[in-house]
């Protein structure tokens, strides 16, 4: 274990002068790596890598702590980092890159309650001393000082619900497997696959010990001596970080035999999947770990009875494991003070889509969606009217603007026809076509269906085709009835959660935006101007007759005399949008 002296040193380091660069995947893809090296080579003091602090919209992010004062710089790139360096060398502030003087100055963090993501972007993810200095492993120490059953009781008392999607009570899930004898497995599900969701990745990359600690607590309580963190090969940094963190934990007797002298053993390793959405489903995930094709199997038998290699297995989401650590750090009663009665605690979310400040947000459950989207997210990215918020990814649905005062919790979202899911929250503005959104999700689900059961394999294909008919003007009035009929068939008859939830985006968007569907079907019009086949391009009186559009048109559909208004022959137009893009005076409308 880490000595008191090491903890004190780490604490001093965290509070002392220090420059940090966010080097999670998001930061790296925005160009943080050369920034980090430039700063390191600049001889301006301690430069350290940290994970992601959640402000996607400001990446790459450099934080400078000097004399207890804090400066957050955003958008620092290879081309402008030299200005930051010279400012720092002269003891100045680089004003044009400065985002804020402290996190608390940012609207993005007002209203957030960062517990599970609390260390992300603040500590070096692979420095155990920093993790411990921030209060890490107190939760495990507390848990192993308790009787196993008491640990489960506290888990149940905390009311923590699975953060992966379904929201099942974690403590109850544990109790199923705790009663089983013999070999048992514990799994962290990090196979995050929803488009627009990346909170699991961020946690794995930015604070791996929080997951490991949570799993160790779970292993102690349930009597599992072996565990896996399952994630996708597309997350190489997360895999690398987790593997390194696991080996550090082993070195410090936080994993392996006789953990912290308690007499309890827990072996943990990382398992990589090939990146199939369906492998987030528990039984498919277990098949994948066993080296088989990742397709789900019917329940019963449940994983708690017959899991990996036939042994009882307990699967919780990576985020859930992080929350386990939070529960045992705070204690169940403190934890319950956050969130709502039915949905206690906080939830980490990925704010994405047409939102001004995309990023990772953690709020107490029960926070109104409007607060998340407007106060934290800053509203739509281009200031247009917000149309809806999509929650739950391809298995979820939409919440229209007029319902944004809805509190974020499992039951309320479900009652509105959506789900919490893993925490993806995608903002859609008036410029997006809701039918196209449903089509996009169905396309995703169809490609990610494992192909095992008929309703999902064949049904999602036909649903997708119907949506394509609607967005291309080929649908008639009967299509909507068929869409509803087949949707409910797929929901009722599919083998696993993927198929059972696949039509949700259709039913939910139909519930709130049926008129938009009808515009497509009856008037052959896409109000948002997204569906290519339904768009009509027109040249307005603004036309200056420059001929740019006519020259660019690939099918010679545009004609007109120089310096006179041009015309589009609609019978020839293939609606490619080239003229719209090239017009220098925006004379073309759609």
């Amino acid at each position: 274990m880490i000595t008191d002296k090491e903890i004190e040193q780490a604490l001093n380091q965290l509070q002392g002068d220090r420059i940090t660069v966010g080097l999670a995947t998001c930061g790296i893809s925005a160009g943080a790596m050369p920034v980090f090296h430039a700063l390191k080579n600049a001889d301006i003091g301690l430069v350290e890598e940290v994970g992601c602090i959640g402000m996607c919209y400001n990446e790459p992010i450099v934080t400078v702590v000097k004399d207890k004062r804090r400066f957050i710089y955003g958008g620092v790139t290879e081309s402008n980092v030299h200005r930051l360096i010279s400012a720092l060398k002269q003891g100045n502030v680089c004003e044009d890159l400065l985002v804020a003087k402290d996190i608390s100055d940012l609207d993005f963090y007002h209203g957030q309650k960062r517990l599970v993501m609390g260390n992300c972007g603040l500590i070096n993810p692979l420095k155990l001393d920093q993790y411990v200095a921030k209060g890490g492993y107190l939760a495990l120490l507390r848990a192993i000082s308790m009787e196993k059953q008491k640990v489960i009781d506290e888990m149940i008392a905390s009311g923590l619900r699975g953060r992966g999607g379904a929201g099942f009570l974690t403590g109850k899930k544990w109790s199923f497997i705790a009663s089983k004898k013999g070999k048992k497995y514990l799994i962290a599900n990090g196979d995050e696959g929803d488009p627009g969701a990346f909170m699991n990745r961020t946690l794995m990359e930015s604070d791996p010990f929080k997951i490991i600690e949570g799993m160790t607590i779970g292993a102690y309580a349930t009597g599992c001596d072996e565990g896996f963190i399952y994630t996708r090969a597309e997350y190489p940094l997360a895999i690398d970080t987790l593997q390194k963190a696991i080996s550090i934990a082993y070195k410090h007797n936080l994993l392996g035999k006789n953990i912290l002298g308690s007499g309890f053993d827990f072996e943990l390793s990382v398992r990589k999947g090939a990146g199939a959405f369906v492998c987030g489903e528990e039984t498919a995930l277990m098949h994948s770990i066993e080296g088989r094709r990742g397709s789900p199997s019917p329940r019963p038998p449940y994983p708690a009875d017959h899991g990996i290699y036939g042994y009882p297995t307990n699967v919780n989401n990576v985020g859930t494991w992080g929350h386990v650590t939070v529960v045992f750090t705070l204690g169940a009663s403190e934890f319950r003070k956050l969130g709502t009665k039915e949905s206690p605690g906080t939830k980490e979310l990925c704010l994405a889509g047409m939102v001004k400040r995309p990023g990772i947000v953690e709020v107490p459950l029960g926070t109104p969606l409007r607060k998340i989207v407007y106060d934290i997210g800053g509203g739509t990215s281009d200031g247009t009217k917000l149309k809806a918020v999509l929650t739950g990814g391809p298995a979820g649905g939409c919440i229209p603007e007029y319902l944004l005062d809805t509190p974020l919790d499992f039951e309320t979202l479900k009652s509105l026809g959506s789900i919490m899911g893993s925490g993806g929250m995608i903002v859609v503005s008036e410029k997006s076509c809701i039918v196209d959104v449903a089509r996009y999700y169905m396309h995703f689900t169809q490609e990610e269906s494992c192909g095992k059961c008929t309703p999902c394999r064949e049904g999602t294909k036909r649903l997708l085709e119907m949506l394509e008919h609607i967005t291309s003007g080929k649908a008639d009035k009967s299509t909507l009835d068929k869409l509803k009929m087949l949707s409910s068939f797929v929901i009722d008859n599919s083998l696993c959660g993927l198929g059972q939830n696949a039509p949700n985006p259709i039913l939910s968007t139909l519930k709130y935006f049926e008129n938009e569907y009808l515009e497509h079907i009856e008037k052959k019009k896409c109000p948002a101007g997204i569906c290519d086949k339904l768009v009509t391009y027109l040249i307005t009186g603004k036309c200056i007759g420059c001929g740019a559009c006519a020259r660019a048109c690939p099918v010679q559909a545009i004609s007109g005399n120089p310096k006179e208004k041009h015309f589009i022959d609609q019978s020839k137009c293939i609606k490619c949008g080239t003229c719209y893009a090239v017009c220098p005076v925006k004379a073309i409308i759609k």
């Binding site: 019917p298 490609e447 008929t454 064949e458 087949l486």
Partner: protein
């Protein structure tokens, strides 16, 4: 076992704890449609055709994977369920080629049957269909994914029962398909041609590679046509003509073959008797020399290919003796051709076999030019129907001589345990036990996939083992490889039940297979001679032509070699 009270379709009944709804329903005469369910295979709940409604459950459940519970109230045909099944069928049909009339499975297809029963009349979901090439590369099995419903029965048979892993799922979503790994074709794959996938396929996505037209051409070629029929055919051919399972049709079969133009109809059973003479000689020699034990039978061509692929380091355990089919083929081209003074090349030999792998066996380089075509039982029935044979009303005819006389020992080759029993009868007789019925063969009877016995041959204990299915064979071979096999003599058959369950047979449940095996046992018990080495025709052939049992000439004509095959 706990008994439970169940209400199904308004009827009160009882069920056993752990029983699945569909099985309970079947027991009381309710047939719930299903495509992916197969009693011998792991249940995967994939087709969703067997959904039923449960009181208190918001969604239908798959009856094949849902166990009964006390007080369960089940409705197997509510309007909602019927509509769900109909939509399910329409979805399957929307991706299907719908060439029913010209399909191999016409009138035997389960998809067709359920579409009819559910009265699917219009297809509401027509759209894209992926047209896939037909894989004709294998000499045994044709694969047509345009007819596949992805029930995965073939995969489960190939992987779980046979452990061959020649095919699996590829692709995802609508692009999901069944094929050999890395897009290989069937010929390149590890397929051992057993055809267990063919008889488990509910449609015609998998069929035997048809040689019917080749045989019709041969019948009209003016050449000297000879047929040989394997032991099991007499016990299964009748089923293709709607006769009861377990009814031997030996005489009708010979008549039918004669009627369509075969000059001679020989009995592969004679080849079986000669196989036993050679194999028993070889076994006694190996026992004496304590060499290459256990010895393993080699009548099954699927097992041979399996061994050559996966246990090439243990091939010396295999008997060098040819299969009965190959023995008859060898004798037809040599001994018999000479006898009737016909040039061997003017003879066309057609083998009627229970087996798709025999199509592969006759094309092995060492057997090239001996047998010309293999027709499976199912193919023969199709040929007979095409050639206007009114099978049920045919009179009986005896096999032709000299390659038509056989013993009871030869007949039981068609079922699991038969080869072993036949061999032990001869070995026992040669050891001085004059009444083999005193020997206890019971432990190697029946349909268990692994059966063992200790046979006492006048003080010499012979430990024998009989397995069917290649998964069981794999276990035995791994034991041999580890040097831990306690056995002296092993019989391996690739197909469940032995040849009565062969990949070229009409489809049948386990109980049907037992009836077929029983028919062979009956035929055996009615034979006057029940020891292979007492077959007068066989003895005459040795005397006139082959010389000593296991002698030089016998070795040249009746034995063979095996070699390593590389597959993925």
């Amino acid at each position: 076992m706990k008994s439970m009270n169940i209400t199904i379709n308004g009827r009160q009944t009882t069920a056993h704890e752990g029983e699945m709804i569909i099985d309970m329903a079947k027991r009381i005469g309710i047939h719930i449609p299903h495509l992916c369910l197969d009693d011998r295979l792991e249940r995967i709940g994939a087709c969703r055709l067997c959904v039923v409604e449960l009181a208190g459950s918001p969604k239908p459940v798959a009856s094949c994977t849902t166990p009964v519970r006390e007080g369960m109230v089940i409705n197997t045909h509510s309007p909602r369920i019927l509509e769900a099944r109909r939509i399910n069928m329409e979805l399957l049909l929307a991706s299907h080629d719908l060439n029913c009339v010209t399909c191999d499975a016409n009138r035997k297809c389960k998809l067709q049957r359920y579409a009819e029963e559910l009265m699917v009349r219009d297809l509401r979901f027509e759209g894209d269909r992926i047209i896939r090439p037909v894989d004709n590369s294998s000499v045994s099995i044709k694969r047509d994914n345009n007819k596949c419903v992805l029930c995965e029965r073939c995969i489960r048979v190939c992987n779980d029962i046979q452990t061959v892993h020649a095919i699996g799922l590829a692709g995802r979503g609508f692009n999901t398909r069944i094929e050999p790994p890395f897009g290989q074709n069937m010929k390149e794959s590890a397929c051992v041609n057993c055809g267990q996938c063919v008889i488990s396929c509910p449609t015609a996505a998998l069929c035997e590679h048809s040689d019917i037209q080749n045989v019709i051409n041969a019948l009209n070629s003016g050449k000297y046509l000879i047929a040989q029929t394997a032991p099991s055919i007499r016990a299964t051919l009748g089923e293709c003509f709607e006769m009861q399972p377990g009814k031997a049709v030996t005489g009708k079969m010979v008549t039918a073959l004669k009627q369509i133009g075969f000059r001679q109809v020989f009995d592969t059973d004679l080849g079986a008797d000669i196989t036993i003479i050679e194999e028993a000689t070889e076994f006694i020699k190996r026992m004496k020399e304590k060499r290459s034990l256990p010895m393993i039978t080699t009548c099954c061509p699927a097992w041979i290919k399996f061994g050559e692929q996966f246990f090439f380091d243990e091939l010396h355990h295999m008997s060098s003796c040819r299969s009965p089919q190959a023995i008859i083929a060898s004798l037809v081209r040599t001994y018999f051709a000479k006898k009737i003074r016909v040039k061997p090349e003017d003879i066309i030999l057609v083998d009627i076999m229970p087996c798709t792998a025999k199509k592969f066996e006759i094309q092995r380089p060492e057997f090239m030019g001996e047998a010309d075509f293999v027709l499976t039982t199912v193919e023969l029935s199709k040929l007979l129907k095409q050639l206007d044979v009114d099978f049920i009303h045919l009179p009986d005819t005896e096999f032709d001589t000299p390659l038509g006389e056989s013993t009871g020992a030869g007949v039981i080759f068609g079922r699991t345990g038969g080869v072993m029993e036949a061999a032990l009868r001869t070995v026992a007789d040669w050891s001085g036990i004059k009444d083999f019925t005193k020997l206890d063969f019971k432990p190697i009877h029946g349909m268990r996939t692994m059966k063992t016995a200790d046979i006492d041959l006048k003080g010499t204990k012979v430990k024998v083992c009989v397995v069917h299915t290649l998964g069981e064979a794999r276990k035995l071979m791994e034991e041999i490889r580890a040097g831990k096999s306690p056995y002296h003599f092993i019989e391996i058959m690739a197909c469940y039940g032995g040849c009565v369950g062969g990949g070229g047979q009409p489809r049948g449940s386990s109980s049907v297979l037992e009836k077929r095996a029983h028919a062979l046992n009956e035929a055996d018990s009615h034979k006057k001679i029940r020891l292979s080495h007492k077959n007068p025709s066989a003895l005459k052939i040795y005397k006139e032509y082959l010389g000593d049992f296991g002698g030089e000439k016998a070795h040249r004509l009746l034995h063979t070699k095996y070699s390593r095959r590389e597959v993925l």
